[in-house]
Symmetry: C3
Subunit: 133 residues, 3 copies
Amino acid sequence: MESFAVSTRARSELIDITAEVKRIAGKSGVMNGLITVFVPHTTAAVTINENADPSVRHDLLKGLSDIAPANLPQYRHAEGNSDAHIKASLVGSSVTIIISEGRLILGTWQSVFFCEFDGPRTRKVDVQVIGKD
Amino acid sequence: MESFAVSTRARSELIDITAEVKRIAGKSGVMNGLITVFVPHTTAAVTINENADPSVRHDLLKGLSDIAPANLPQYRHAEGNSDAHIKASLVGSSVTIIISEGRLILGTWQSVFFCEFDGPRTRKVDVQVIGKD
Amino acid sequence: MESFAVSTRARSELIDITAEVKRIAGKSGVMNGLITVFVPHTTAAVTINENADPSVRHDLLKGLSDIAPANLPQYRHAEGNSDAHIKASLVGSSVTIIISEGRLILGTWQSVFFCEFDGPRTRKVDVQVIGKD
């Protein structure tokens, strides 16, 4: 397992971590297998989406905030971040990507994004590679 | 593969299954790998979220019920549990967690929760561990 | 890794790809392991849900369209498919299923569905199997 840190600068933010994931996949020496990117936090997540037009990231964060709005009167959790916990379970705490012939198999427009929903904070990402050399 | 049963007591409920998952990880003897927790049901799911304050669980279930309300007139499925099917696809049927040096790598506040969306029922959870001894 | 194509015929559509996934699992010769089904697109996804009553598929697509409506004035992305990007991150770009004793372990009512959110298009699905023969 390898880990790296992510520093977020806003309450909600998508940060492209594809380069770090590729680096760890390459370093592992695994030619055919799987790589799992896991976020060990309950108010953050990880997703795969478009990296070309930054407005996709804006619309994705706005869409998630419409789906799970902040500060609803129905929330009981006293920390005021229940929306972030809901987003974490909707988006998910991990992504698994195929490694084939030593390469990460992502689509042309796909990047891996760390999803901050209760920042800014310093966060951690854990990565595991399994398969055959 | 190992399986275990979960008895749910409400229509919507989150049940902490971390201890069972840890037990299966330990029993496998795998020191470095991945563990996949899979729910073989279409109106239930599995997620990772906060285990400390029970109000997070309340707010998560309430948030999901606002996102996919029960009994909308638009639903065609005659069983009356379309909301549960929608929640199952939003939250997901599996989680994958890293095993490193023989330990399940979860964040400080993370637990694995079986998500019942159409209970009460007796449910099943399947778990697979892969990696190196 | 194996790949196959999926031709979609509507903007939003769920297509059962379980047979292709089972075929690839069988061909791999892996008796105990995991199979990951990965969608290399940012306006499509993959999920596991009920295959028996087609109205579940209708209600799931309708539910997702209520959750992430098309053409909201707040969207900035000029391609007009921001709803599809949001649905892709909610549902997810991959599913991981257990292989045990040479069989795909799915529940009685579960099938694997390719989720088109911005069709019709010709799409691709990548599949990786890992484990022991």
